[in-house]
């Protein structure tokens, strides 16, 4: 009975629905994109309508919002934050800088393509993305979760070596605890 395919499927649907309806975002303003998070979360755009709310620590969070560029110094902390998060977890890349460097394409201190270092589920275009765009990003993520396609964490687990290599390339002094699954 328990192993019944249909039962599993129903559990999956319920789980995915719950995951989609309750997205807790770790409160980490990594870049200047953080400035459009308050309007998104507060009364004018009210992202809580979608069950999106902030969470103070990575342990409790589902979504890591990379709000723009990441300096190498921040990247180190972001990786740590990401690895502290519990599965299933999602990453949203926010703004041009996460895609191809944005306006910091020639800066010596920022990474240019986020997906080389962390598995990104959704990219949102803009510099800054407006609150509407941010919400669209979340809606896209919800769709992916509902369809069971937002499996960035899975990808990370499978390709950990590759990610580690890329991460070590830019983080010179790699003093980090091992990833505990």
């Amino acid at each position: 009975m328990i192993n019944d395919k249909y039962a599993n499927k129903i559990v999956d649907i319920i789980q995915n629905f719950a995951r989609k309806s309750s997205l807790w975002v770790v409160a980490y303003g990594t870049g200047c994109g953080a400035i459009e998070i308050p309007p998104t979360m507060t009364s004018r755009y009210d992202a809580e309508r979608f069950g999106i709310r902030g969470s103070a620590t990575p342990r409790q969070a589902d979504v890591l919002l990379i709000t723009g560029y990441l300096s190498t110094k921040t990247l180190k902390r972001v990786i740590r934050t990401y690895e502290q998060m519990q599965d299933p977890k999602y990453v949203i890349g926010f703004g041009s800088c996460t895609i191809n460097g944005g306006m910091y394409w020639d800066s010596y201190n920022t990474i240019k393509a986020l997906d080389q270092y962390l598995p990104v589920d959704v990219f949102i275009n803009g510099c800054m993305p407006r609150p509407e765009a941010v919400i669209s990003g979340f809606i896209k993520l919800q769709e992916l979760i509902k369809e069971g396609k937002a499996n960035g964490a899975q990808k990370y687990k499978e390709n950990l070596e590759w990610y580690r290599e890329n991460q070590r390339k830019v983080i010179k002094n790699w003093k980090m605890p091992d990833y505990n699954w």
Binding site: S43, R44, Y45, D46, R49, G93, S96, T98, I99, N100, G101, G102, M103, W105, D106, A113, L114, D115, V120, D121, V122, F123, I124, N125, G126, C127, P129, R130, P131, E132, A133, I135, S136, G137, I139, K140, L144
Partner: protein, 597 residues
């Protein structure tokens, strides 16, 4: 224990907000319209765009690439490339919009672009959003342009002041003006496409802008040894396609060239600045017939490449049409002498007063040289074909100009009619004004149909030349001494061409007038005179409508004969002749050096 009762209770007044309707924008259910100026995704009007790449240059994020798009070819005034924005770089500052010379690039109200594929952020405006035109928000039209659309005005002599002498009308830019004017250039290089010589225009303009005039001169001399001439009299096709000209006045490319080349005011100085690399003699010898612009150009570059070059010139001065055909107020004599002087320093040999066919035969030249370049120009004027044309006082414009330029006396009296609408006609008219005559131009078609440069036409009008369009001369009336007395002409109306060609003038019957004149100057065109070429050779040379047919290296159907200048192109201006000369160099080089191998 003091209790701040107000402080404890007043916060609770906030609870009354609970009954107010929330002001939340319930996106995506409700959509708030973005502002009229919102800076969203790009849109590019692909037809308007000329692919100048200014957007790509200004972008501090290197977000814009110029790429080839299906259906757009490189052609005159269009590089054939179109911008593509990397939205992973863009910051929507819209500098690209404000800098766009054509105004084709703009931003739209769309901004949502969400995907899980990081490689999907390359955005070709206009291709990826063909409907973007309806959503345009941030345009360059609304603000002030970033580029300078106003040309630095060229100082000129006052119209009535000019006619008193043959002094150069255009005074030229001073240093500050030149820097400012050069700074207007966006450096796209679209101009080089249409320039027959493909001069390195953006480069020398940039050099001028940076105050490096010598570098500019060196760049100009790289493929045009008559840069100064061009700086004064070029027909400057480049300016018609200038990116800035789409919405403003084009960069004064000609005047800037003039400014730069004039900085080197003698042949020695040119040599010092240009200091070209001269290859050691390679033992080959080339003969050039005619010391016009094409011949001189070819001779100069052939000399630099180690060829032994001799020019055979029928007249006593070099330059051909630029020497004799262009009035001195546009191109002073000294200027040509300076430029030719420099070429002679570089090893070009010119035999003056050596008319081929008269002083030396074509076959002799053939014997002496391995290759021959013919650049004789159109020297034989067309006749009006009306009665009285052979009367005294009826002159051909190019003869008239030649006489004036070689300071031989010409008597045209005080009332002149010029027939024709080309540059030669205008030149003749303006020269006549300087000789003290009242001048009327009779032209078959409308003023806007005149092939002459509008600047020239305006200049003529400033100087008091009367232009009488749609007038067809019928007869030149003479007095008893067979001297021109008057000209009879009829007014014409324009008949549209049923085949879609340009409208043709048709004489209005009976609408005939007579003007009293002391001279009639005909300027309705010229042709070439190939009589010096032996018939057996001439037979082999393919011609078409009076011009010699050449390949892209100016080679005629007889391999060792090259042709350049007016006799080989339809443009009939100095810069095309120079271009021909430059190309002929490559042809000759190929012919002779390949043979060696």
């Amino acid at each position: 224990m003091a209790v701040d009762l107000k402080g404890i209770l007043s916060p609770f007044s906030a609870l009354k907000q609970g009954v107010k309707p929330p002001h939340t924008v319930r996106f995506p259910r409700e959509k708030k319209e973005t502002a009229e100026r919102y800076r969203g995704l790009h849109f590019n009007d692909l037809e308007e765009c000329i692919g100048c790449g200014s957007c790509a240059t200004i972008c501090q994020n290197e977000a814009i690439d110029m790429i080839k798009i299906e259906g757009f070819e490189t052609k005159d005034g269009d590089s054939g490339l179109r911008p593509r924005v990397d939205n992973g770089r863009c910051c929507w500052c819209a500098l690209c919009v404000d800098v766009c010379p054509t105004g084709s690039l703009s931003l739209t109200k769309d901004y949502i672009y969400v995907t899980d594929d990081p490689n999907a952020f390359l955005w070709t405006p206009g291709v990826d959003n063909p409907d973007g035109k309806e959503k345009i928000s941030f345009t360059s039209e609304e603000g002030k342009p970033l580029l300078d659309y106003q040309r630095i005005p060229m100082r000129e002599l006052e119209g009535m002041e000019r006619v008193k002498s043959f002094a150069e009308v255009v005074l030229g830019y001073d240093e500050e003006e030149a820097r400012k004017e050069a700074a207007r250039c966006v450096g796209c290089g679209i101009c080089t496409e249409v320039c027959p010589v493909h001069m390195h225009i953006p480069e020398y303009i940039f050099a001028i802008g940076r105050g490096e005039d010598e570098a500019a001169i060196k760049i100009i001399y790289d493929n045009n040894p008559l840069g100064e001439t061009c700086g004064k009299v070029c027909t400057r096709r480049c300016e018609t396609v200038c990116a800035i000209s789409k919405r403003g006045e084009p960069v004064a490319i000609r005047w800037l060239k003039r400014y730069a080349t004039e900085r080197a005011n003698n042949a020695d100085l040119i040599e010092e600045i240009v200091n070209p690399e001269i290859l050691p003699p390679n033992g080959h010898s080339v003969g050039i017939i005619g010391a016009g612009p094409s011949g001189l150009t070819a001779a100069y570059y052939l000399s630099l490449r180690g060829f032994d070059v001799t020019i055979y010139e029928a007249k006593d001065k070099p330059g051909g049409m630029i020497m004799y055909g262009i009035p001195k107020y546009r191109l002073p004599l000294e200027s040509i002498e300076k430029q030719v002087g420099y070429m002679q320093k570089m090893g070009v040999k010119i035999k003056y007063n050596t008319a081929v066919g008269k002083d030396i035969t074509f076959n002799e030249i053939k014997e002496k040289h391995e290759a021959v370049l013919i650049g004789i120009g159109f020297e034989k004027p067309y006749e009006l074909g009306i009665n009285g044309e052979d009367a005294e006082g009826s002159i051909q414009a190019i003869n008239f100009l030649r006489m004036v330029n070689s300071e031989r006396p010409v008597d045209i009296g005080d009332k002149v009619v010029v027939v024709g609408g080309g540059n030669v006609a205008i030149d003749a008219a303006r020269v006549s004004r300087r000789l003290g005559a009242e001048v009327t131009i009779l032209y078959r078609r409308r003023v806007e149909d005149m092939p002459a440069d509008w600047e020239e036409i305006e200049g003529a009008e400033d100087e008091g030349v009367v232009i009488h369009p749609q007038a067809i001369p019928l007869e030149i009336l003479t007095d008893e001494n067979n001297h021109v007395k008057a000209i009879k002409y009829a007014n014409a109306e324009m008949i549209p061409d049923p085949n879609g060609g340009r409208p043709r003038p048709k004489i209005i019957e009976g609408d005939e007038h007579i003007i009293e004149v002391t001279a009639v100057i005909a300027a309705i065109g010229q042709g070439a005179d190939y009589s010096f070429i032996p018939e057996d050779i001439m037979e082999k040379i393919e011609t078409k409508r009076g011009r010699i047919v050449v390949n892209e290296k100016q080679q005629t159907s007889v391999p060792w004969i090259f042709a350049s200048g007016d006799i080989a192109n339809f443009r009939a201006d100095a810069i095309s002749a120079i271009a021909d000369g430059y190309r002929a160099v490559k042809g000759i080089e190929e012919l002779l050096l390949k043979k060696e191998k």
